[in-house]
Every structure is written in structure tokens, then in C-alpha cells.
Amino acid sequence: MSSVAQALADTAVVAKRNVIKIRRVPEVLTFVLISPIMFVLLFGYVFGNAIEVAGSSYREFLIAGIFAQTVMFGATFTGVGIAEDMEKGIINRFRSLPMAGSAVLAGRTASDVIYNVLSVAVMAITGLIVGWRIRGSFLDAVVAFGLILLFAYAVSWVMAYIALIVPSVEVINNASFMVIFPLSFIANTFVPVEDLPGPLQTFAEWNPVSTVTQAARELFGNIPPGAPQPDAWPLQNPVIYSLLWIVAAVAVFSTLAVRRYQRVTKN
């Protein structure tokens, strides 16, 4: 077998193991499914009722941003899973086997796609219940969901890398939030980027959370008619920019993470 085929086979073995764990530890799955519902209801009602947007429902406007933000939070599971495997010595076991060095991480990020799909599905249903509607075409909606899931996959790789550089499971959540919070709040999720002060505005314009949100809003047809056109290139071309960011993030962080994995041992 070629080394690429071998690496894929190893990845499948690791992913299968993770899937078994998803089934056996339903508590994790429950949490994965409840928190998106909570996010949609919380942000949808707390913020959604507070602000009036002319000609449209603010809640509907918010949903795409909540999707993008929530899948990013969900990606912390990738980091937690890897940090746990390290703590329990399973990573050392894997590293002593003649398997592909990338397979443990690739298997983890692959199996976490299941969490993301379920989480997005739950959010979409909750959103529909509270009044969100897909007003674009079916195909556009599929592209929007696809983009959100690809974004989640890319963030999983970021979290995988973070998990390998932090010393223990206890700090992984704090470390992830240091990445997640700026990304999710210095964005167009809740407020228009134009209202942010200078440097924050630039950050928000190039923030992938903003562009994924913008893309999804456009594709779902959730942009109110007469809303101002964004000035920044990433927000004007949100699908292209988001895809570029996703490809770059996966390339960079998978390389960093795999390199790190090959040197890391349990402390």
C-alpha cells in the first residue's frame, strides 16, 4: 500500500475508535447537542429582541452568526479529546506503533465532523422553530451549511495544535477560549463591523467568523434588503475568502500539529 493510502487507512482506524467512543459516552453527545440549542435561544432572544432592524427580523439576521460561533466552540472538543488521550498515555501507545504520524490527529478531526454535523442540524431546527427562515435557494443553503462545516473542520485543526502545546486537559479550555473569544466577538455576529473602532474593525473584516457569517447570511437570504454593502474585500467575497482561510488554516495547523505530535510525549 502506498504511504498515503496507509495514512488514510490508519486515520480510518482512529476515527472508528473515536466514533465508538461517541456512542459509548452519550453524556458528551448530549452536551454537544444541548449547547447549540442554548446558544440559539440565548442569543436569539437576548440580543434578537433588543435591537430592531428595519424590514427584517434581527433574530433571523443573527442565526448565521450563531452557527459560525457555535461550531467554533464545538471545535474545543477536538482539543479536549487529544489532550485526554495524551494524559491517559494513549498517544504514547499510538506513537510507539508503526502507524502514520498524521493519523491520530486526522482521525480525531475527522470524527469530530460528526459532532459538528449534529450540532448544526440541531441549531438549524431550533432556528426554524424560533422563526429563522432559509429564503435563498436549496443549493445555496447546502453551500452555506457546507461552508460552516468546513470552517468547523479548520478550527478543529487549530484546537488540535493548541491541545498539543498545552500541558494538560485542565488548561485546554482556557487556552481555546483565548482563541475563540476574540474571533467570535470581534466579528459581525452581533454588531455591524462598521460600528467597531479602527483596528477592531479591520480585525473583524478579515476575521473568518465574519466572512463565514456573511457568506451564510447571503446564501440563506438573511440579509435585509437595503442593508449597506460591506467595504472590505473579504466581506464582499465572503465565500471565496472563507474557503481560502479554511484551506490555509488546515494546511498550516495540520502541518504544525503533526510535527508537534511526533515530538510530544506525556509529561
Binding site: 504514547n92 501507545r93 510507539s96 508503526p98 493519523a103 515530538r263 510525549t265
Partner: protein, 333 residues
């Protein structure tokens, strides 16, 4: 013939801490090397380097004929590792763990299945094969972990403190299994902080402390290095001590220790049971009664004390055999 494991001048530093400071190890094919040392001596670091988990700062190593630094992937194909912390997945069943490891050794689906079942059978885990490892006892976990190391039937096996934390019964079971493996020709490097374990399982022993070997040889050689046999006698009447010493002086090959506790004598001798018989005759002739008497060979614990100036278990807490080591093995890399 090339040794199955050969390490030369291994040095590893973690920041200011030097875990290994020039360790040499040689394990001829088909033999067992016991690497003996307290917590923090560098045992796990040495195993990590030999099993490709860690790069040394200096030194070189060959395992199963392959250079560890030049071709780590090939080394991994030829070794099995069972760690100090039972590295099996708690959520998976015993069968699933072994099958997964088999797949990752690239045995193929059928062979991985077959091998998992064989090993479960051999390690007496068939009953628990489909249960989550979470419900296994400590001994069962260790057996499963060891089985994991054997999935690919590797010619060279590394067991890093395989029985730490196990109760005496499970430890004896595991020793039995390990001895059986060795008779089948596997080369084994075993680390332990239990002197008794090295004594039972190892052909050769390397005693390490602070990252370097301070003694090596067979168990008997190490014991001889510390001094030979002694007669240990407890007098019925402690006031006979002076008379007893006078009677036994001609047999002693060194100073006779006495009085700790009162009425206790330790007489260094050479010549074994014949000398003991002679000693008994002399004491009898002098009319000195004995409560207890025996021939005592030094234990590896004595060896350690003399070589390092501290007892082997000192760093591991007050653990006897069953207590196990504290979990915070500072040497772990």
C-alpha cells in the same frame, strides 16, 4: 551477533534537569535486562528514547538491528511497548483495543481480529473481551496493556514498570506471563523499582540512579559486589553476646555486627551451609542457646543501599510491594 538492544552514551536534558547523563545499555538477543532504579532515576526516559518516543540530546541506539535515530519507523515495526500507565482505551472493550492496535500494526483486518482473540485467550481475558475496559481491575488492565504490546509478536519488548501499583497476586500472575514470553525467545528490557522483580525476571541487571548506570551484572554478581553471605543469629540470652562472638570469630571473614537488636549477631562468612553447621557446633559447645539462626544472602535492596547510599524505595514513598509508586514519576518525559 548484534545485541537486540544497544544504547551508547544516551544523554537527555529537560531544561535544567538532566534525566540521562551518558547511559549505556546492552541487551543480547533472547535475554532480559532489568533496569532498576528509584523514581526519577531516568528509567522511563531511557525507554522513551529506545522506543522512538523521545530524541536523545546525545548518544545513539540500535534496537533489533535498526538505528533508532535514523529509522524510527522501522524500529516501531519491531518493538512492543507497554508503559507504566496502562495505555489502553477505557471506553473501548478489550477486544476493540487489541483489534485497533493490530490494524495500526497493519496486520490486516482478518489477522488483527484473529490476533486479538488469541491474546485475549492467552491472557485470560476472554470473559471480559467485550466489556468496556473501564470495568477492568488493575491487573486485567495491565494484562491487556501487555497484550497490546504483543499484538505484532515483536522480537523486542519494552516493559516500563509493568507491575507498578499492582497487588501482589496480580504481580505474580504478570511475572508468570512475562517469564513465559522470555522462554519463547523474546528480548526484553524491563524497568522496575522493585528489586524482587528484577531478581525474578532479569538475566542481567543495570542499576541506575540520577541518569547513569551505577552497577551492572547478574543478580548474583551484584550481591557478591556488596559482600557475601552472613549468618544471622538471635541469642536466647543477650548477655551471651561476647561469648558468642568469641566462639564465632574464627569463622568470620569480616567484622561481626552485634546488638541491633540486643542478642542479634550478623557474621560475615564464606562457605555457605557448611560454615553454618560449624557455627552451630561451636555455639553449642560454648553452651550458648539460640532462638533463631539462618544463612542470609544480601538482597538487592542491600545492593542498592550500598551503591547509592539510599534505599531503593526511598523516593517511591513508603510503598512495599503492594503499595506501588507515586503517580508523579518526575522522570517521565
Amino acid at each position: 551477533m548484534e545485541p537486540a538492544i544497544e544504547a551508547v552514551g544516551l544523554v537527555k536534558r529537560f531544561g535544567d534537569v538532566t534525566a540521562l547523563s551518558g547511559l549505556d545499555l546492552t541487551v543480547p538477543e533472547g535475554t532480559v535486562l532489568g533496569v532498576l532504579g528509584p523514581n526519577g532515576a531516568g528509567k522511563t526516559t531511557a525507554v522513551s528514547i529506545l522506543t522512538t518516543l523521545l530524541l536523545p540530546d546525545e548518544g545513539s541506539a540500535r534496537v533489533a538491528g535498526v538505528d533508532v535515530l535514523a529509522d524510527p519507523a522501522e524500529v516501531r515495526r519491531r518493538i512492543g511497548l507497554s508503559g507504566q500507565y496502562a495505555a489502553v482505551d477505557e471506553v473501548l472493550s478489550g477486544y476493540e483495543n487489541l483489534e485497533m492496535i493490530g490494524r495500526l500494526y497493519h496486520l490486516g483486518k482478518e489477522r488483527a481480529r484473529q490476533r486479538a482473540n488469541e491474546l485475549l485467550e492467552r491472557f485470560d481475558l476472554t470473559q471480559a473481551a467485550n466489556r468496556s475496559v473501564k470495568g477492568y481491575s488493575g491487573g486485567m488492565r495491565r494484562r491487556l496493556d501487555l497484550a497490546g504490546a504483543l499484538v505484532a509478536a515483536p522480537p523486542v519488548l519494552f516493559l516500563d514498570e509493568p507491575t507498578t501499583g499492582l497487588d501482589p497476586r496480580s504481580r505474580l500472575d504478570l511475572w508468570e506471563i512475562i517469564r513465559e514470553l522470555v522462554t519463547q525467545g523474546t528480548t526484553l528490557l524491563l524497568t522496575t523499582q522493585y528489586l524482587e522483580e528484577a531478581d525474578h525476571l532479569a538475566d542481567d541487571i543495570v542499576v541506575i540512579d540520577h541518569g547513569t548506570a551505577i552497577a551492572r551484572g547478574t543478580s548474583d554478581q551484584l550481591k557478591a559486589q556488596v559482600g557475601g553471605e552472613r549468618i544471622s543469629a538471635t541469642l536466647e540470652d543477650p548477655t551471651d553476646t561476647a561469648a558468642a562472638i568469641e566462639a564465632l570469630v574464627p569463622l568470620a571473614v569480616g567484622d561481626i555486627e552485634s546488638g541491633d537488636p540486643a542478642g542479634q549477631l550478623l557474621v560475615p562468612i564464606s562457605g555457605g551451609a557448611a560454615v553454618l553447621t560449624d557455627a552451630l557446633r561451636r555455639l553449642d559447645a560454648a553452651g550458648i542457646g539460640l532462638r533463631d539462626v539462618g544463612l542470609r544472602r544480601p538482597t538487592l535492596d542491600d545492593v542498592f543501599l550500598i551503591l547509592t547510599g539510599h534505599r531503593a524505595e526511598e523516593d517511591a514513598g513508603p510503598g512495599g510491594l503492594a503499595e506501588g509508586a507515586s503517580a508523579d514519576d518526575t522522570e517521565a518525559a
